[in-house]
């Protein structure tokens, strides 16, 4: 009896403890669902928006000395909705309704760009260990006892009260005001709503403002739970939000609300009871220590695997979507063989020249940067395979690469295995993990693949890395995850030149392999399924099998690059190189520069590794001006501009899915051909013929355009 009463007491305490974070999760989930419902945008930048409000609030309080209420009004009531409206007006309104993948890519870009942009404008720097304060003074110190079971802090109480007010307000808005009704109607069909005389544009903007208000609110409320105010923590909130929202199948507001609260309670209960079980099962310890990240992942996976409706459920389709104009054909639709040959030659020449210069006269720092670019090119080829060829957004490429890095570390450290052999073992393990992960995922829609891979990345980050046989456990705290650079036969990896040569050879072989896959059966099948899963299946392609294959190949390539990167840096450096937020930026860079081509990965790697030391530092400008003194004072620019630049670059994805650099090349190529054609058709010249006619002829209406019923 006594034991039962004690357990009951613990359960009650766990529940009460879970309600405050749960109510913040509910706010996040509701805000997230609101944006998704009204605009079909799966807003992965939601966490970034929450961060901006939280950081602005914090900065206004501490740096500018504003009173709490003013800081709250400005950061949550004014700035947050303003960002939402701006995003809707400037970006999302202009996208076609069915561009789900483009919307997803853009929000990923925004989640990288927004925090950096904010930090640059306001001059905010995250300070480690400075816990943000809550809305009310003494939020973390003043406690209110509830029936002797659990004491709520003032912050927790504030969260709960605000959550209730916010949700009740939203409920009242939906029930009693015409706006609520219009919003519900807009959700069903923007066009039908317009036919009824309501401006659905205005309604959408309002919904975005409201959703962003919720983001800001959640940000300010959740901030005191972090010990440092930094964007990556807020990004992880998206996993929590999505899981709660997924409980309501992404469209059901009340269920999302319940999902958020129950998620908070579940986490709290597991935190209460798991330690007791973990005493007897050591493998549970890492999970126990990082429950907040582990639970959403496990819940999301259970949902994905268990719920038939979720798996078979298709996106909501506007009954009048057929009347919307068809998507514009890609600006440069096909790549001419001439362009392929030209870029290949230019690439080889460029690499030869750069290689020669680097091998003969580069100092250690430049050697490092160039080698890093080469290795990152390999890593980024994994994004080319999965996103460019298979059309899936994978947000856990960092985890696959980290598996490569950790394998090299473990094998070299424990078993003294040759590091180059370990790289391939690591790549094979990463391929196996990726393939296994893909089996339940690829049958889902693309949005779900993105979310599930994000959840996996968060799980890997929070739990798997902490396992002793992966991240080294306690010993790695003392000596890090060191990787040796030994001499293997004639190759001395300790010599930077030798390492660069090895990296170049691996890149060359990988690039050739990826090219062959793209031009071979694998690539053709992936292209088919990417364009139309149903049509692919109708000629006998197994969408599951080709999806799993793509993931496994991508995992292998990522693991390969990750292993090499850890050799180069003589350390896995997990947090800097492979954390989910860092790897998010990989996808952003590759997608915005060129995700369809093999050399696109190299462009992206160069952009990733060299923009800062070359462009932003002013080095390139100084070299061009031939005098370091005449470089304007704005240099060196903050490295954060890199995040802003590439993050906003993803917006172009909607129009140029082949990437900015690739699009530029194709456009230039077309211009040259047009110019040549004109010259040839001039008096005395031959009329344009053959391949030129396709360019000169006005485009007939496309098949896709007429196919709309």
């Amino acid at each position: 009896m006594l034991i039962a009463a004690a357990v009951l007491d613990d359960v009650l305490r766990g529940v009460l403890q879970g309600v405050p974070p749960g109510s913040v999760y509910a706010i996040i989930a509701v805000g997230f669902v609101l944006a998704y419902k009204t605009s079909g945008v799966f807003n992965l930048a939601f966490g970034a928006q929450a961060f901006v409000s939280a950081a602005l609030f914090f900065h206004a309080r501490t740096a500018w000395g504003w009173p709490s209420w003013l800081a709250f009004v400005v950061s949550v009531v004014v700035v947050a909705p303003a960002i939402g409206v701006a995003l809707e007006r400037l970006v999302f309104r202009h996208l076609p309704t069915d561009a789900a993948l483009a919307k997803l890519v853009i929000t990923i870009g925004l989640s990288v760009a927004l925090p950096s942009l904010f930090e640059l404008i306001v001059g905010f720097e995250p300070v480690a260990g400075r816990t943000p304060e809550g809305l009310l003074p003494g939020g973390a110190e003043v406690f209110y006892d509830v029936a002797g079971i659990y004491s709520f802090s003032r912050n927790e109480l504030t969260s709960m009260v605000i959550a209730v007010v916010a949700v009740a307000g939203l409920g009242a808005l939906f029930r009693f005001s015409p706006l609520g009704l219009q919003m519900r109607a807009t959700v069903e069909s923007p066009r039908l709503t317009e036919l009824a005389g309501v401006r659905s544009d205005g309604v959408a903007a309002f919904a975005w403002a409201l959703s962003s208000l919720f983001a800001g609110l959640a940000g300010v409320l959740i901030a005191p739970r972090f010990n440092t105010l930094a964007a990556p923590d807020f990004f992880n909130l998206v996993v929590v939000a999505v899981t709660a929202a997924a409980l309501g199948r992404l469209v059901d507001l009340p269920r999302a609300l319940v999902g958020g609260v129950s998620l908070g309670i579940t986490i709290s209960l597991v935190q209460t009871f798991l330690p007791r079980v973990a005493e007897h099962a050591a493998w549970l310890t890492p999970i126990q220590e990082n429950v907040t990240s582990a639970i959403p992942f496990l819940a999301l996976f259970a949902l994905v695997l268990g719920s038939r409706t979720l798996r078979s459920g298709r996106d909501h389709v506007d009954p009048l979507s057929g009347v919307s104009p068809p998507p514009p054909p890609p600006a440069a639709m096909s790549r001419s063989p001439l362009l392929t040959r030209a870029t290949l030659i230019a690439g080889v020449v460029f690499f030869a020249v750069v290689g020669l210069v680097v091998f003969t006269s580069a100092d250690a720092q430049w050697m490092f940067l160039v080698t890093q670019t080469v290795i990152l090119s390999i890593v980024f080829l994994s994004v080319t395979v999965i996103t460019g060829f298979a059309g899936q957004i994978s947000l856990c490429q960092g985890a696959f690469a980290a598996i490569g890095g950790f394998t090299v570390f473990q094998l070299a450290d424990r078993f003294d295995v040759n590091v180059m052999a370990a790289v391939f073992v690591g790549a094979a393990i990463a391929a196996a993990v990726a393939g296994l992960l893909a089996v339940p995922l690829v049958r889902l829609g693309r949005v779900w693949v993105a979310i599930a891979t994000l959840a996996f990345a968060a799980f890997f980050d929070a739990v798997v890395v902490k396992l002793p046989f992966v991240g080294g456990g306690a010993t790695s705290l003392l000596q890090g995850t060191r990787v040796p650079r030994p001499a293997i036969g004639p190759v001395d990896l300790g010599d930077d030149r030798h390492l660069l040569a090895v990296a170049l050879v691996v890149l060359g072989i990988t690039a050739l392999a990826v090219r062959r896959l793209r031009d071979g059966t694998t690539g053709r099948m992936l292209a088919a399924v990417r364009a139309s899963e149903l049509a692919g299946q109708s000629i006998g392609i197994s969408a599951t099998r080709s999806g799993v294959t793509a993931f496994a190949i991508s995992g292998f390539v990522a693991g390969l690059g990750g292993g090499l990167l850890s050799i180069q840096q003589q350390n896995v450096n997990y947090a800097t190189n492979f954390s989910p937020y860092a790897a998010l930026f990989w996808v952003v860079v590759v997608v915005s520069l060129g995700v369809r081509t093999v050399e696109g990965a190299s462009h992206a790697a160069a952009g990733f590794a060299l923009t800062d030391p070359l462009l932003f530092s002013g080095v390139l400008l100084a070299w061009m001006l031939r005098s370091p003194d005449s470089v304007p004072d704005v240099f060196p620019l903050s490295p954060k501009w890199r995040f802003v630049m590439f993050g906003l670059g993803t917006i172009a994805f909607a129009k140029h899915p082949e990437g900015l650099v690739e699009n530029g090349k194709r456009t230039a190529h077309r211009r040259v051909e047009q110019l040549l054609a004109r010259r040839r058709s001039a008096p005395g010249g031959a009329p344009p013929s053959g391949s030129n006619t396709a360019l000169a002829r006005p485009h007939p209406p496309s098949a896709a355009a007429e196919a709309s019923p």
Binding site: D519, G523, A528, L534, Q537
Partner: protein
Amino acid sequence: MTALLDASGITKAFAGVRAINEVSVMVDRGERVGLIGPNGAGKTTLFNCILGVIRPDAGRVVLDGNDISSLAVHERARLGIGRTFQRIELFLETTVRDHLLVAERVRQGHGSVWRDLLGRGRPSRDELAATDRMLELLGLVTLADEPIEQLSLGQGRLVEVARALMTRPSLLLLDEPSSGLDGSETTDLAATLRAVQSESGFAMLLVEHDVELVSTFTDRCYVLDFGKLIAAGPTAATLADPHVRAAYFGTTPEAS
């Protein structure tokens, strides 16, 4: 001899409403069969059940004597069911020839990653010859290397047919091929299909709204209404049936 396709007792309910109720359809080798009915009669549902896109609540689908009821869409496709789509589904960002090449590859079962890595993934001469033959058969030769986005709807339908035929189906399911085409384009398509069929001898099951196309193109037809089979038999006779006219054209048997 057993029928090529024998779908029997197919029943499917959505949220309690029976979209199709105990419908049975048979197609013999080399036959042209029509499936007609007013909107909402359950034509598409039946079609999807035969293809495996939807799993029926009850009933069996037998192809060539093999029960394929539990197979996935792509497995059925490999066993010889080809199809086209009402709202055409093409592989964007590829050329017309690419459509046929990938179908040919899948048919041969050459899906190995290792083959690609060893550089044997590029189209062989035989494969190119096979695609050339198909392009010629359907009059698509001049469009072979066009990006698919440049095609008109009628041309797109032909590409769909060509792609389906590359898998050498024994049964081709055509989902409202005339939708979006004008009268002459429809006639052309029908003529092409007939010509190709006389060479390869596959059977066709045609879901269609266009009664004229059905009456001139098919040998037999089935008529669905409210999820039930209301008539079946030789096309001309079936279309003349007063019940069919009532369901389809809204004229009651008494009135006519």
